[in-house]
């Protein structure tokens, strides 16, 4: 029924009628984009994209990873050059050659991967995006005043490298507002925030709308789009598939437009573990001093994962998840052998290779440059994590690499995980994020690990691949393995986990069973609130 409704809707919201509607409903549009196209090599990242943003409108740009959203906004902001198409600003055609020209027109941007300089102060960062030369002291004053009026606290003299992700985003927003733009582009702003911080951001955005500013809001979180946006443009494979009013859609119908097919969510069968099952992962009071000036110390982290369970670790980026992964994987060793135990054996002094031999599989957050070597072939990348665990199969005398068996295994993994690639054995960097992630997960699953530890399993991955990856993790657990998932994506954790713990500032909360967990509770813990936070030592109980 839903599908019917959607086809109907799509029928009447054909481009031209939609454009007319928009033109009628609102005053003259602020920004009008026609046929904008960007080609990278053979890929049409944006293919004849049309977009109309009215004044005082929060317009959402929806689409999967790789749909062309970032490419589109980079063209609007002058950092990419379109191959074709026109942009009209306040009714007159413009060519935006550079970000400074965009800023001069009145377009501001808050980047997803912040364009900040860690070694400089907040005020210096702001100064760099202002086109006229202004003394740093004046900028600091203005920034302070503005941050106060919007309730976004900010210390202009602080070094960006020392700030949290949320604070960094505030600098980006203040920097953007100081230029008094008419159109603010926000690229995935909530992906790095706790639900409460996101609420705060929405208030700011709504206030900006009241002030008559337009906002182009990029997100894949459909609930917030429905809640806040006046109009939406949906992109798929670089093409506009729909213009619609998100308030009149359901989250499911929006998702279907983005993906182009029915969206599958992972099926989570109830865990079969009983409370007294032997834990396969035991972390006891794991502490770790910061390894670099910018890293977070771990403090008394304790956690158990039993066979058959998927346990999630939520948290805002940069709260010690990376440091925890390094410690538990054995990339960094522990001082006490018993702080990390796998399958009942002390593992704190074991190297990552020895931990793998003990039956543990690891998937790090960064795909290119950590989980895989970008310029090496997939088969070489298979060897990367399995040269010792599978030395009998993969290596001959004198450590000679057996290309044949490795090639076959690569093929098998690609088939099982549905890794789509352009060549028989391409370089890792030639694969899309989703396909490479499927391969890296498949590389570990292929060993049938008793313990699997995954950091950000579906970060930047398209919906189809994400669903497959999530299902495979649940299936692995249900077949008797222990699975630990570290993720910033709360929807994901709620979809696959049996319990969720929260990491904040290097400390880990007690895991909340999924039945008790709510977005609100987890969000509070992510923000560092005490309720539900268990003092050290009891966490593992």
């Amino acid at each position: 029924m839903q599908t019917d409704q959607r086809t109907l809707k799509r029928g009447k919201t054909r481009e031209d009628t939609e454009l007319e509607q928009v033109a009628q409903n609102r005053s003259a549009p602020l920004l009008e984009v026609n046929g904008l196209t960007k080609i990278f090599g053979e890929l049409r990242a944006c293919d004849a994209v049309d977009l109309v943003i009215g004044k005082g409108e929060i317009h959402s740009l929806l689409g999967e990873n790789g749909a062309g959203k970032s490419t589109l906004v980079k063209m609007l902001f002058g950092s990419l050059e379109p191959n074709d198409g026109t942009i009209k600003w306040n009714g007159s055609p413009v060519i935006i050659r550079s970000p400074s020209e965009a800023r001069a027109l009145g377009i501001g941007m808050v980047f997803q991967h912040f364009s900040l300089f860690e070694a400089l102060t907040a005020a210096e960062n702001i100064a760099l995006s202002l086109d006229k030369e202004t003394p740093i002291a004046t900028i600091a004053e203005k920034a302070k005043a503005l941050s106060k009026s919007y309730g976004l606290p900010l210390d202009p003299s602080s070094m960006v490298g020392d700030l949290s992700v949320g604070e960094r985003q505030r600098i980006e927003i203040i920097r953007c507002l100081l230029q008094e733009p008419d159109l603010i582009i926000l690229d995935e702003p909530t992906s790095v925030l706790t639900p409460q911080e996101a609420d705060k951001l929405f208030e700011t955005l709504e206030r900006l709308r009241e002030e008559g500013k337009s906002i182009l809001y990029i997100s894949h979180r459909l609930e917030e789009v429905k809640r806040m946006c006046d109009a939406a443009t949906v992109l798929r494979h670089g093409k506009v598939v729909n213009h619609c009013d998100p308030r009149k859609e359901t989250a499911a119908s929006l998702a279907n437009m983005m993906v182009g097919e029915e969206v599958i969510t992972a099926a989570r069968t109830p865990a079969k573990t009983s409370g007294d099952a032997e834990p396969l992962i035991e972390v006891k009071k794991l502490s770790r001093p910061p390894a670099t000036p910018f890293s977070i110390p771990l403090r008394n982290v304790s956690l158990n994962v039993r066979a058959g369970e998927v346990i999630g670790i939520a948290g805002v980026a940069g709260n010690g998840q990376g440091e925890f992964f390094e410690a538990i994987s054995g990339e960094a060793l522990q001082s006490d052998a018993s702080t990390v135990r796998f399958r009942g054996k002390d593992a704190g002094w074991l190297s990552i290779t020895e931990r793998r031999l003990a039956g543990v599989g690891f998937v790090p957050e960064e795909r290119l440059g950590h989980g895989a070597v970008p310029e090496m072939k997939l088969s070489d990348n298979l060897l990367l994590s399995r040269h010792t665990t599978d030395s009998k199969a993969f290596l001959g005398n004198l450590g000679v690499i057996r290309r044949d068996t490795i090639g076959e295994t690569t093929k098998r993994i690609s088939k099982v995980m549905d890794v789509r690639k352009s060549a028989e054995d391409p370089e890792a960097s030639a694969l899309s994020g989703g396909n490479l992630q499927k391969f890296i997960i498949g590389r570990e699953l292929d060993r049938k690990p008793a313990v699997m530890i995954v950091n950000q399993p579906t970060w930047g991955v398209d919906a189809g691949a994400a669903a497959r990856i999530r299902q495979s993790l649940i299936d692995l657990a249900r077949s008797g393995s222990a699975v630990l998932v570290i993720s910033q994506d709360l929807d994901e954790l709620f979809e696959i986990c049996d319990a969720i713990a929260v990491m904040h500032n290097g400390e880990l909360s007690r895991p909340l069973p999924i039945a008790e967990a709510t977005f609100e509770k987890i969000g509070l813990l992510m923000g560092g609130a005490e309720p539900g936070h268990v003092p050290h030592g009891e966490g593992a109980a």
Binding site: A372, M376, L384, S385
Partner: protein, 362 residues
């Protein structure tokens, strides 16, 4: 108009093979222009540089003599550079190897038997490796930049050698010329084919080393480890490989190869240790390593090409009165062109006119 690079999805196999040849070709053109501005006929000059030395057998032997140390050192450096360790002090390790290997014939001139030469070669390798261990240790232990330390140690080794051959090791019968006693026959590296020319066993060592290192680097887990750590240290750590151990492996190996080259030079064509043994092979070998695209088999070819520029430089000086310094300019240009053409392997290059013009028209 501007130059625009687009990353290739895959490394270009074609340009991987072709780039050294393109570089060589471009260097010849640039070299020809250089000779022309110096008032020489470029074709004559190029003839003396690249063809003349190949016309006679004895000359081919001289080529092998020059190529041997270049190839030996460059093979070690190729492993080092592939693992992203920048040992640029091979010249110092070359000298250290020469000194260490000379210990026996200089200090124990009466110890004469067939064992002497193998011991000298081993000592030479050990000396080079030990000297290379210094920057390696400093890098691992104190995080010290290996480029600068390994280079500084070149000057130190050269000065130390200078002191040795003028001071404690000077040949008392050498009419106050710096240099040690001439080595006895058991301490001399035999010539491969004495009837035809002077080429010695150092060249054979270079060929054997090339094949062995090529096999290890392209076929075994150790080679894989070197490449992984070189391209992505973080992924290497994830694989369970140790960067610190790799630093030592790379430096010790390249130091040993440079040391071997050093002792082969003094025990081969020079026949004693003097203050002039350090003539920059360790630096020219950097060019050889890159021209050979860090592949040991390619390095054999590249070593011969660079050796040719030395001989050619001499030939052009004798025949045309061209400065023999021109050879070093040639070598420098060659490295530039090699690096520049390597870009073609990873990127597509195009000259972009302003696309805006068309966008505006649309």
């Amino acid at each position: 108009m501007r130059i625009e690079l687009t990353k290739r999805p895959q490394q270009s196999v074609l340009f991987s093979a072709l780039s050294p040849f393109i570089a060589l070709f471009l260097t010849m053109i640039a070299g020809g222009l250089l000779f022309a501005t110096l008032g020489k006929n470029p074709f004559d000059a190029l003839y003396f540089y690249f063809i003349d030395p190949l016309r006679e057998t004895w000359s081919l032997h001289e080529l092998a003599i020059k190529a041997a140390p270049l190839i030996l050192i460059a093979i070690g450096l190729s492993v080092c550079f592939t693992s992203n360790n920048w040992n640029i002090g091979a010249e110092g390790q070359f000298v250290a190897g020469a000194i260490a290997g000379s210990l026996i014939p200089v200090l124990f001139p009466n110890f004469q038997m067939f064992l002497v030469l193998p011991m000298m070669l081993i000592l030479g390798m050990a000396g080079g490796a030990a000297y290379a261990a210094i920057p390696a240790y400093l890098k691992v232990r104190f995080n010290t930049n290996e480029i600068l330390t390994s280079l500084m140690l070149v000057y130190v080794a050269q000065l130390f050698n200078d002191w040795l051959v003028r001071g404690p090791w000077r040949n008392p019968e050498g009419f106050s010329f710096p240099g040690t006693v001439r080595f006895h026959e058991y301490a001399i590296l035999p010539q491969i084919w004495p009837e035809a020319g002077r080429a010695h066993w150092g060249f054979i060592f270079a060929l054997v080393a090339a094949v062995v290192v090529w096999f290890v680097m392209s076929r075994t887990l150790k080679g894989f480890e070197v490449r992984v750590l070189g391209q992505s240290p973080r992924a290497g750590r994830f694989a369970g490989f140790s960067s610190a151990r790799m630093v030592f492996f790379a430096f010790l190996l390249s130091g040993a190869m440079a040391g071997l080259a050093g002792i082969c030079e003094v025990a081969g064509p020079v026949e004693h240790l003097n203050e002039k043994i350090s003539i920059g092979y360790g630096f020219t070998a950097i060019i050889v390593a890159f021209l050979g695209r860090l592949n040991p088999l390619g390095i054999v070819a590249a070593g011969l090409v660079l050796a040719l520029t030395y001989l050619g430089g001499e030939a052009a000086q004798i025949s045309l009165g061209l400065s023999d310094k021109a050879a070093r300019v040639f070598q420098g240009m060659l490295l530039f062109f090699v690096l520049a053409t390597d870009t073609l392997i990873h990127y597509r290059i195009r000259l972009a006119m302003n696309i805006r013009a068309s966008a505006e028209g649309a």
